[in-house]
């Protein structure tokens, strides 16, 4: 995700010069953790509902959560990642966000 930011820097003289910088926003991931209670079909359903994944994608992530103990299910802007985690928590799934290294 790139944001183009324009900065006006005052030169030693009274003139202004324009400098354009490109700032990269660090992406964040949504991570879901496995737990022994939530049913596999339920986790699949919530992945479909929250992220809009189709059945195949949702089942792939669900199996990764089940087999590996956790899965990165989405990556993007921090604010959106937090929103997704809030939704996942409301469905009683254990989830967090982490900065992409």
């Amino acid at each position: 995700m790139h944001h183009v930011q324009q900065m006006r820097l005052e030169s030693p003289s009274t003139d202004f010069q324009t400098k354009t910088t490109t700032q990269t926003t660090t992406p964040w991931s949504v991570v879901i953790f496995d737990d022994p209670v939530n049913l596999m079909a339920y986790v699949t359903l919530i992945l479909k509902r929250v992220f809009g994944y189709n059945k195949t994608q949702a089942e792939k992530y669900m199996l990764e959560i089940h087999n590996a103990g956790k899965s990165i299910v989405w990556t993007g802007e921090k604010e959106q990642a937090e929103h997704y985690v809030q939704q996942l928590h409301s469905h009683q799934l254990k989830a967090t966000i982490q900065k992409v290294q």
Binding site: N38, Y42, L45, Q86, H89, S90, Q92
Partner: protein, 159 residues
Amino acid sequence: MRVAPTLDRSLRIDAENATDWLVLEMICTDASQMPNEPLADKLALYMAADEDWAELITPELADQFSSQIIHVSRSISTADKALDLTGSLFIKAEDANTWFGAINQARLSLEERFEVSKFDDLAEEEKSLEFEDPALKAAIIRYHFYTSLQSILLEYILD
């Protein structure tokens, strides 16, 4: 007790005696007996790095989880019951998520209190030894009943 989906995408639960109603009421009792901190606080631990989470999000989730339990409790207590305590309870499609959430809280609570899921992996003879504890035995039976209810909700109504 009989549980079956209906043609209008509801779930019908037929209770046959007082014990059946008691078992249904145990959903709310179990959900309310979450050990240690409330569920919303447990989930907030996963977002501990976010300073605002506990203040802004956790109370909202706590309200949501409480209202799920209250809804289920009211549905059970206001269901039509005959003098012999037979009666039916309907979970409509629009209430299915609320019911599922309350039942999930009950299962999470039982897992935390009794580590119920570990018994799925035990050998039969180990299970029979553990089952001598009546509270544990009852918890396992309720846990499996709740799981069955959730599976039916998922298969016929939610998905």
